[in-house]
Amino acid sequence: MSPVNASGPFLRLSGLSLSFGAYKALHDLSLDIGEGEFFSLLGPSGCGKTTTLRLIAGFEAPDRGNIWLAGDDITTLPPNLRDTNTVFQSYALFPHMTVWENVAYPLRMKGVAKAEIATRVDDAIAKVNLGAFAERLPHEMSGGQRQRAALARAIVGRPKILLLDEPLGALDLKLREQMQHVLVDLQKSLGITFIYVTHDQGEALSMSDRIAVMSGGLIQQIGTPEEIYYRPANAFVADFIGKSNRISASPNPGDAASLRFGPVDIPRSRVAGRAQPSAVALRFEALDVQPEGRCDVTFDARIARVMFLGSVIEVVMESGGQMLTSHVPSRKGLALKVGDTVPAGLLFDDVVYLDD
């Protein structure tokens, strides 16, 4: 699962730039993706993630930069000659063909023998559990069924890379969670590299081996879901992934050995690597209310709002003029009232230091 194998990276994007008129969609983007990886491009709309996917698929040509797949430069190769297949956001099923005909299409175009087409199409349709719908036309099926048909069509040709453009975006929550399992299982059983574009951090975190967080046509951070979640590289990633309190640095209280962020003093010895971070980010769940275990620092806070969210309770508190939000497990069974003053605490290891 390492991004670079012995003979170089499986897919290498190097220095890709693309503008549409005055609008710069990508700036000098470089990225290596390993064979068999489940890789996600995550970011808000307009961040360049779909453009990156379309460059890999061959629907756009970069202004500058190159794309290598398994050692070959495929930058100018037209999409029909690339060993990549795409699951489109709109599914893009051919409306005049049945599911079976849709799935058979890539094999027909490659000139595969009829008998082989039949077995491979049946096999692909069975893999996505659409056996009963093979003869349906796209408009005769539900969104989830269309989605699976599009998936079958994209995997039947056994591409080197499967590109998925927000494939679950149009499905309802329950179906989306179900499809996440289907996709992960499929990827493991096929062993194909998946590149998955999404704006949904939940999808990216739960399915990916690695994630590239993008914004403004630039990669903000590449890492495993855990790295992205617990060690965001900058303020953008910290804001975009999960829910965090952002606390700006306060003027130093005169104690040269520590830094102050709102109600929290952090010894300089614990601020790794940075001379003067301008702010810190603290995950909602890293801030405990009425802590029972070990804490590096505790302070008093006044409760401003309490909201029951199911598995957690969201507590909004004020301390020293700083509003802070905490997610406390509901199972802790805290009896919290607005206006009460309660102790709150955190561990220095959970604090993320931001430069900007």
């Binding site: 629907f59 100018t76 999409p79 029909n80 297949n85 893009a92 051919f94 005049h96 063909m97 069509r153």
Partner: protein
């Protein structure tokens, strides 16, 4: 809203499906039944007798000349429609898929010639193809021909060329609309699945757009098969078509039943051919609304070979436009030419023909009549068309599609057949000859066109708009005024503009209904046969320029409205 007007609305809406049946009876059922009936009576000395006979049909099938003529008419119309399709479909494909900023302009440029009189364009072709015409002058000047050839005008080639020329805009619009509905993502999906451009076209674009082409082809075929004006102007003896023979049965030959029998046979043959085309052009599946329409095409690396290809392609795209505008340029040029004869070379510049316009009272009166007929039939057609569309969309539960099809029949039968069937009914009904008949005749095809356009828009509307309005306490009348009409306004305006254009330019049906008071196209038609004044060039140049200005203003207004809607 007063109580009495509420009652009126209720009354009208409860009677409304009845109004549709009344219209159908008067303008669809009666003319066709009467035409059909007439074909079974014996004619004697220019009058229809009460003797029932099959002789008229026997006469058609026993006459080799007529049978040959029927075949020739169908083949000529088919070839013309095919030729128009060969030009219009690729052009529509290019404009839809490869143009962005200039797309609207490219479409408008194809449609604008429709605003210029059909007769005028046909006449211009005569000038281009004639012995002293543009082509001969050019070929002789270039030394390709030693003397002018008569091989261009008064041939079947000239008929096919002219009919194809007239059909191109219709095939283009129909194909373009279908192509625009094919989402870009489907083309990408096909390329992604390993199909090259050609395979993508044959497997995806063609199956999804051929229905649009089939509709355009059918329109072109209908226009060509029912036309007897163009063949008689550019066809000569070799280019005679059945329509001319049928028309003469109602004119000089004076044998209505025989003409009716020929018309019925023509109509049946046309129906059969259109059914086959409809079958071949059938489509499967429904394009999902979530897909976006035609959009950006693939950005390709600019190689030298690619660039040369691009230049050749652009040249190829301009050719149909040259073809479309050549007759218009001829009209424009000759409106300033200092000669009574429409031949090359040009003799000199003059404004004489424009000055003569103001003194030619017959021409000005014909022009006024045309406007009168067009305004009245468009106004009535708009009111009735919108009402019928509303009834069909919201009131009629069962057989809505059947009613819609029945109402559209006058648009779908050859012009010559519509003309004579209306003429016979008008004769029987005692409707006064002249403008009243012309107005009713124009209504029969103007109304369905407006109705169909409005109905298409209404069917595309989210029904919750109406429900929301009713839910919020608006009466049905207020819902119509404040919610529905604003949303279908552009469809109404577009339909009315199209109806107006059709009426202004109509000559085939009008010729049968008009008496001694010709409309402008009929006046021009008579002029062209019995002596021609170049003032006609001048008036059509003026009309053409005014129409283009009108269309451009319309586009500007629509764009401005769209921009405002987007901002809001």
């Amino acid at each position: 809203m007063t109580r009495s007007s509420e009652k009126l609305v209720k009354l009208v809406s409860s009677a409304s499906p009845g109004l549709i049946y009344l219209w159908l009876l008067a303008l669809v059922v009666a003319p066709n039944l009467v035409l059909f009936g007439t074909s079974f009576f014996k004619a004697s000395a220019g009058l229809v007798t009460d003797e029932v006979t099959l002789r008229n049909y026997a006469a058609v099938f026993q006459s080799r000349t007529v049978l040959v003529l029927v075949m020739r008419t169908l083949v000529t119309a088919f070839v013309a429609a095919a030729l128009a399709s060969l030009v219009a479909y690729p052009l529509a494909f290019y404009v839809s898929r490869y143009m962005r900023g200039m797309k609207q302009v490219a479409v408008m440029l194809v449609v604008i010639p429709l605003w210029i009189s059909l007769l005028m364009r046909v006449f211009a072709w005569r000038v281009i193809l004639g012995e002293n015409g543009a082509i001969n002058s050019l070929l002789v000047t270039l030394g390709i021909l030693s003397e002018p050839s008569d091989a261009f005008l008064y041939t079947r080639f000239a008929v096919v060329l002219t009919l194809a020329y007239m059909a191109i805009p219709y095939v283009f619009v129909s194909s373009f609309t279908a192509l625009e509905r094919v989402p870009e993502s489907l083309l990408e999906a096909s390329r992604d699945a390993g199909a090259n451009r050609f395979q993508t076209f044959t497997n995806v674009v063609w199956p999804l757009s051929r229905q649009g082409l089939a509709i355009g082809f059918s329109l072109a075929f209908l226009l060509a098969v029912g036309d007897y004006v163009s063949p008689s102007m550019v066809g000569g003896l070799n280019g005679t078509m059945l329509g001319m023979v049928i028309a003469s049965q109602f004119g000089m030959a004076g044998n209505w039943p025989l003409g009716a029998a020929q018309a019925v046979i023509l109509m049946l043959a046309v129906a059969l051919i259109l059914a086959v085309i409809g079958y071949l052009g059938r489509s499967k599946g429904i394009i999902q609304a979530v897909d976006s329409g035609a959009g950006a095409t693939l950005k390709r690396a600019a190689t030298l070979r690619g660039r040369i290809g691009q230049i050749l392609l652009k040249l190829a795209v301009t050719l149909p436009y040259l073809f479309l505008y050549a007759p218009l340029v001829v009209t424009l040029v000759f409106s300033f030419n200092d000669s009574r004869v429409q031949t090359f070379p040009l003799t000199g510049f003059t404004l004489q023909w424009y000055r003569e316009l103001w003194t030619n009272t017959a021409l000005i009166e014909a022009f006024q009549r045309t406007l009168f007929v067009a305004v009245l039939s468009t106004a009535a057609g708009t009111v009735i068309g919108v009402a019928f569309a509303l009834i069909l969309a919201y009131r009629v539960r069962a057989f809505g599609n059947v009613l819609q099809l029945a109402l559209a029949v006058p648009v779908a039968i050859p012009g010559i057949v519509l003309g004579i069937s209306l003429a016979i009914v008008a004769q029987f009904s005692g409707l006064p000859q002249g403008l009243p008949r012309v107005i009713v005749g124009h209504l029969s095809f103007v109304m369905p066109v407006i109705m169909l356009i409005v109905l298409t828009r209404l069917r595309a509307l989210d029904p919750s708009f109406v429900e929301a309005s009713l839910d919020l306490g608006a009466t049905r009348m207020k819902t119509l005024l404040h919610v529905l009409l604003p949303m279908i306004r552009s469809a109404i305006i577009g339909g009315a503009m199209l109806g107006f254009t059709l009426s202004v330019d109509e000559v085939i049906v009008t010729l049968f209904l008009t008496g001694t008071e010709p409309t402008l196209p009929v006046y021009v038609w008579n002029q062209m046969r019995f002596g021609f004044t170049p003032s006609i060039n001048a008036i059509f140049t003026l009309i053409g320029l005014i129409s283009v200005a009108f269309v451009l203003c319309g586009l500007w207004v629509i764009n401005r409205t769209n921009a405002r809607t987007l901002r809001a």
